[in-house]
């Protein structure tokens, strides 16, 4: 357990240091969401209708933007070899790095969501649903993305390939995340959508560390 938290703490510190890219990802999220009111125009009805979808798509892009460095930095400087030899099973190392990634991208995005929601004229009544949905959905983005990041770790400019690989797997989180907010806005219960989002998270949590660890071992050969 102490080894697990050592990896989490190290990755969080690396992400927050200059060049770690966590702040840039957040700035990307904020700026891209800001572009929509500017591009679509001040039509509040239209904005609030597309608002939750926009938030989810941009959150997804922000996650993709930072995911390609999830294992690549460690791969390039030789740390990944040492992590693979360490007593902590590689699957747990993957999980620790994913947790650190979520803490530095998914969690801040979730916390910023109401603010960005206001910019998109989403009803404040839907903010609690929005945040719960983001809290359940953003870890899925980090978890599923870890498989893509592990597969493309040895490829320079693997970021585009990574996006192509994991985007189809992001679709369930995107659909149910946006639907939960929409249901709340229409006065329906968001519960079924949130439950499905939770199921998506559990499946990702149970399967992706194995897949990512296997892909990393292959790349270390």
């Amino acid at each position: 357990m102490s080894r697990f938290s050592a990896v989490v703490a190290r990755d969080v510190r690396l992400a927050l240091r200059q060049g770690g890219g966590s702040y840039w990802t957040l700035m990307f999220f904020i700026l891209t969401v800001t572009l929509f009111p500017l591009g679509v125009g001040p039509d509040l009805a239209l904005l609030s209708r597309i608002g939750s979808g926009v938030l989810w798509v941009v959150a997804l892009l922000a996650a993709l933007l930072s995911l390609d460095r999830l294992f690549q930095a460690d791969y390039e400087d030789g740390s990944l070899e040492l992590l693979a030899l360490a007593p902590l099973p590689l699957e747990l190392t993957v999980l620790a790095k994913v947790l650190a990634h979520w803490l530095t991208t998914g969690l801040p995005v979730t916390l910023l969501a109401p603010l960005m929601g206001a910019m998109l004229a989403i009803e404040p009544a839907a903010y609690p649903t929005l945040m719960v949905a983001m809290l359940l959905g953003t870890p899925v983005l980090s978890l599923v993305g870890s498989i893509g990041a592990a597969l493309t770790v040895g490829i320079r400019r693997g970021g585009v390939l990574l996006s192509l690989l994991v985007m189809p797997l992001y679709v369930p989180a995107l659909i149910f995340g946006a639907l939960a907010v929409e249901a709340t806005l229409e006065g329906l219960s968001p519960r079924p959508h949130l439950l499905l989002l939770g199921a998506d998270l559990l499946v990702a949590l149970a399967l992706t560390p194995w897949g990512a660890a296997a892909a990393l071992r292959l790349n270390l050969e």
């Binding site: 080894r3 050592a6 190290r10 690396l14 240091r17 007593p87 902590l88």
Partner: protein
């Protein structure tokens, strides 16, 4: 402070080896990219032994080290520890390794001490451990502990990487070109480290192009005609 002078550091290295271990390969073959890198390779390293891997570039020295670390599986033959195949208990095998590859695994954003502290936190459980700054002593980096690793020279980065040897405190050291970009004093410090490790019953497999002044070291030529 030199490695040999530090009694506490010495004790940490001495704690691990109780039994006369043997690390051996029989009929080892490796295929990379549909090309046979080497085949029919045999060697044996006994407790306290050192094996120098020599050969031209591309002969497969690093590949053999990767086989020893079980990153790769041999196409034929097997590697054994005390007669048992290393694949039989991989976790045990990894716990007895200290790996220094040709990459330095140094995070420029962290200080020298933070770099070594992370690997110490991740190391296999040992009865006796040291503080991070003590681990920096053998390779003469203790005075740079608070310096961000981004400012280290290539040789200093290598020394930081080699400082991990005491952290892992494994009984089998796998070193890939450990003396590259080291100055004479640091090379001597490393030789002292290896000799103490061997005195304690540890073993080392070292890929090198240099004539390392190690006593009773066996040489395995790979790719030689």
């Amino acid at each position: 402070m030199r490695w040999a002078d530090s009694a506490r550091v010495r004790r940490v290295v001495l704690q691990i080896h109780q039994m006369p271990d043997t690390f051996a390969a029989t009929g080892l073959a490796c295929i990379r990219g549909e090309r046979i890198v080497f085949e029919h390779l045999d060697f044996e390293v006994a407790a306290g032994g050192a094996l120098l891997l020599r050969g031209p570039n591309g002969a497969g020295k690093s590949t053999l080290l990767r086989l020893c670390a079980a990153f790769l599986q041999p196409a034929a033959g097997e590697l054994t520890w005390n007669g048992r195949p290393i694949q039989a208990d991989l976790d045990d095998h990894r716990n007895r390794l200290a790996w220094v590859g040709h990459l330095d695994a140094v995070k420029p954003a962290f200080t020298v001490e933070d770099n070594i502290a992370f690997w110490a936190a991740l190391a296999p459980p040992r009865p006796m451990t040291l503080t991070p700054s003590e681990y920096l002593q053998p390779m003469g980096l203790a005075h740079l502990a608070d310096l961000p690793a981004a400012y280290l020279s290539a040789g200093q980065r290598r020394r930081l990487n080699l400082s991990r040897l005491a952290v892992a405190a494994g009984s089998l050291w796998l070193l890939d070109e450990p003396t590259s970009s080291l100055d004479d004093a640091s090379t001597n410090a490393l030789m002292t480290m290896i000799e103490i490790h061997r005195d304690a019953g540890g073993m080392a497999v070292i890929a090198t192009h240099q004539d390392l002044p190690l006593e009773n070291a066996r040489t395995l030529r790979i790719g030689a005609p």
